[in-house]
C-alpha cells in the first residue's frame, strides 16, 4: 500500500470510505504492519472490525521496472494483495502503485477470463453533459482488432456499473468518421463490430473533436492511443490551471475578481467529477484489479474504493463473462454460416460441372 502522498493519506481515505458506506464489507490493508498499526491507532481505526491488516515486507517503487519488480519482490504489498485475490480471501485489489507492475502482476497471477486475450484499463472521463468510459487507456499498446471488440464488452459493463447506463452506446475512436478513415487496426475492428451485432450496442466511429459531446457511453481504443489522449488531457488541464493561477496572482483586482466568481469554479469542478471516478479497473481478469492515480488524495482513495465496491456488488465480472460467452456464440454462428455458404457455392459448382 502507498500513494505519492504517503500511506497515511490512504488510511484516511479508507476511513472516509467506511464512514460513507456503513454496510458490511471488509478492507484488508496490505503493507508493513509496523507502519500501518500506529496509523490505525492515530485515526481511531484499530478497533474497526471492517479493517484487517495483512503484513508484507517489501514495496515496489514507482520507478521500478515492472517485470523485474514483480519477480524479485515476492513479498511486496502489491503482489501479496493480488495473491489474496487469487486465493479468494479478497474479491478485489485496489492500488495507487506502479501501474506497469500492477498490470503485469495482475495479468500473470489472475490470468484473463476465458475468451479474453488481453486485459484493458478502463476509466471514466467527464464530458460536457455526460461522463463516458474510455477503454483501453494503457494496458495493451498493440492489441489485435478482436481485442477492441472485447474492450467494448468490458467497457460497456463498466459503464453500466459506474455510470448507471443500460445498453451503453459504444464508439470506436478514430482520426475521422468517413469511410476509409482510421488506421488499419480501427478499420478492421470497425468491420468486426459491424459483423457482431447483438451483444454490443455499436454506434460507429467517433473523432477526438467530438469526444466530449456525450454521444457515446463507451469509447474504445488501443492502449497506446488511449493512454496518450488521457495523459495529454490531464496535463493540458494542469497547464491551463497553472497559467491561469499565475495570471490571477499578478494583481489584487484579479484576485478579488476570482474570489467573487469562485462559485463558478466550484460548480465547474462539481460538474467534472474527477474524485468520484479516481479508480480505473483493469478489466478482463479473473478477479478485480483497480488502479488509482499515484497522486491520489483521501477523497480520491475513497472514490476508488466506492467504485470497486460497486463493481463487486453489481457482479460486473459475472456479467462480462456472460457477454463474452454470447459474443463467442455469435462469432461461432457467423463462422458456421460462412462455412455453409462456401459449401453451397462449391456444391453448385460441382452440379454445373456434372
Amino acid at each position: 500500500m502507498g500513494s505519492d502522498m504517503g500511506p497515511e493519506e490512504l488510511i484516511i481515505g479508507v476511513k472516509k470510505a467506511l464512514a460513507e458506506d456503513k454496510s458490511n464489507y471488509e478492507i484488508i490493508i496490505v503493507g508493513n504492519e509496523s507502519v500501518i498499526t500506529p496509523m490505525l491507532l492515530r485515526h481511531n481505526l484499530i478497533r474497526e472490525s471492517r479493517i484487517k491488516v495483512y503484513h508484507a515486507s517489501e514495496v515496489i517503487e514507482m520507478d521500478e521496472k515492472p517485470i523485474q519488480a514483480i519477480k524479485s519482490k515476492r513479498d511486496s504489498s502489491m503482489m501479496r494483495a493480488i495473491e489474496i485475490v487469487k486465493l479468494g480471501t479478497a474479491d478485489a485489489v485496489l492500488s495507487c502503485g506502479n501501474t506497469g507492475a500492477l498490470m503485469a502482476g495482475g495479468t500473470i497471477k489472475l490470468r484473463t477470463m476465458d475468451g479474453i486475450e488481453r486485459p484493458a484499463l478502463g476509466t471514466v472521463i467527464p464530458g460536457k453533459t455526460k461522463n463516458f468510459v474510455m477503454i483501453d487507456v494503457g494496458a495493451s499498446p498493440d492489441p489485435k482488432p478482436e481485442s477492441l471488440v472485447d474492450n467494448a464488452i468490458l467497457g460497456a459493463n463498466y459503464a453500466t456499473v459506474a455510470l448507471g447506463v443500460s445498453n451503453p452506446r459504444v464508439g470506436l475512436l478514430s482520426n475521422g468518421t468517413e469511410d476509409g478513415k482510421g488506421n488499419m487496426l480501427v478499420q478492421t475492428a470497425h468491420r468486426l463490430f459491424k459483423s457482431q451485432e447483438g451483444v454490443i450496442n455499436y454506434r460507429g466511429l467517433l473523432e477526438g473533436f467530438n469526444l466530449f459531446d456525450g454521444d457515446f457511453d463507451v469509447v474504445v481504443c488501443d492502449g497506446f492511443t488511449g493512454n496518450l489522449v488521457l495523459k495529454s488531457l490531464e496535463s493540458s488541464a494542469r497547464m491551463f490551471k497553472d497559467i491561469l493561477k499565475e495570471e490571477i496572482y499578478k494583481s489584487w483586482i484579479r484576485k478579488l475578481g476570482i474570489f467573487l466568481a469562485r462559485g463558478a469554479f466550484i460548480d465547474m469542478k462539481k460538474r467534472l467529477p474527477i474524485d468520484k471516478f479516481s479508480g480505473a479497473p483493469l478489466l478482463g481478469l479473473n478477479g478485480l484489479v483497480v488502479k488509482a492515480h499515484g497522486s491520489s488524495n483521501r477523497k480520491q482513495i475513497a472514490g476508488a474504493l466506492e467504485i470497486t465496491l460497486r463493481c463487486l456488488r453489481k457482479r460486473m465480472n459475472d456479467r462480462i463473462k456472460e457477454d463474452v460467452h454470447r459474443l463467442n456464440s455469435i462469432v461461432e454462428e457467423n463462422k458456421a454460416r460462412a462455412y455453409e455458404k462456401e459449401r453451397e457455392i462449391l456444391k453448385s459448382r460441382e452440379t454445373v460441372q456434372e
Copy 2:
C-alpha cells in the same frame, strides 16, 4: 478559397496580412472571380498590386470524400491552387478547405521529396513556457518507423522556422519512457533514432503527461495518435470554456468577478498564441502546402499567411532536402559498416576453418 466563415473573412485576412507585411510578395486568390471581385472592391483591394485573382469554377465541400472530390472537381479552387504551385507560378498554397482533399491532392500533384515516403502534417502547440511542433497530426495514420525519423527532420526544420529555435530537441511520443514502453512502431523508431545520430537532435521518448513541460521542441508521432491528441485537446479546451461560461452566467456576482479578473484571461490567451500558428504545413512535398483550420477567422488567416511566408523566406524546403540527404548518407554508411563487419566475421571464420 473559402472557410467556414465564408470567403469574405478570408479576403479580410489577406488584407490584414498585406497591411502587416509591406514587403514585396504576391497573393494569388484562387476561386470564383464573380464572387471575389466585388469583395476586393468592397475592401479597397482592387488596385492592390500584390493581389492577383485566378478563376476556378468549382468548390470542394468540407464533407466530400477526398479522392472522389479531387478526381471529379478538376476546376476546383483547391486543385487549381495546387496546380499553380506545381507549375511554379506560386510557391505555396494555403487552404482552409477539406483537409483530406488537400492532403491527397497535394501529395498526388506535387509528390513527395526524394527520400521521403509520406508527407506529414506539422502544427505548433502552445506549451506552458515554450511552444512546440507536433508532427504528424493526421497525414499518415499507419506510417513505417522510418517515416517517424523523416517526420523528425520535417518537424525540426519547421520548428526552426516557426519557433526560431536552432538545433531543435526532438522527442518521440510514447505511453511511457521506460525501456520496453511504447507500441511496436515507437519501439522500432526509437532504435532507429538512436542509430542515426548526427542529423537529428534526438532526446528520447516523452509521455503525454509531460507534453507541455517544454523539454522538447519537436514531438514526433504517427498521424493517427497525433490527430487524436490534438483534436481531444481542442475539444477539451472548448468544453472547459463552455462549462465555465455557463457557470459564470448563473449569477451577476460571478459575472462581476470575471469582469474584474478579465485581464488574467486576456493575458492567458496571449501566452497561448493560437492565432499566430493557425496554419499547419503538410511537409515533405515538392512545394509548400499549408492547411488552416476550417473555422479560421481573419486573424488566423493572416497568421497562417505569415507562417507560410516565413517558411518560404527561410527556404525551409531546401533545408529539409539537405537534411534528408545527410540522413541518407548516414543510413548508407551504417549499412556499409554493418556489411564490412559481417565480412570480417565471415573471414575470421574461414581462417579458423583453414
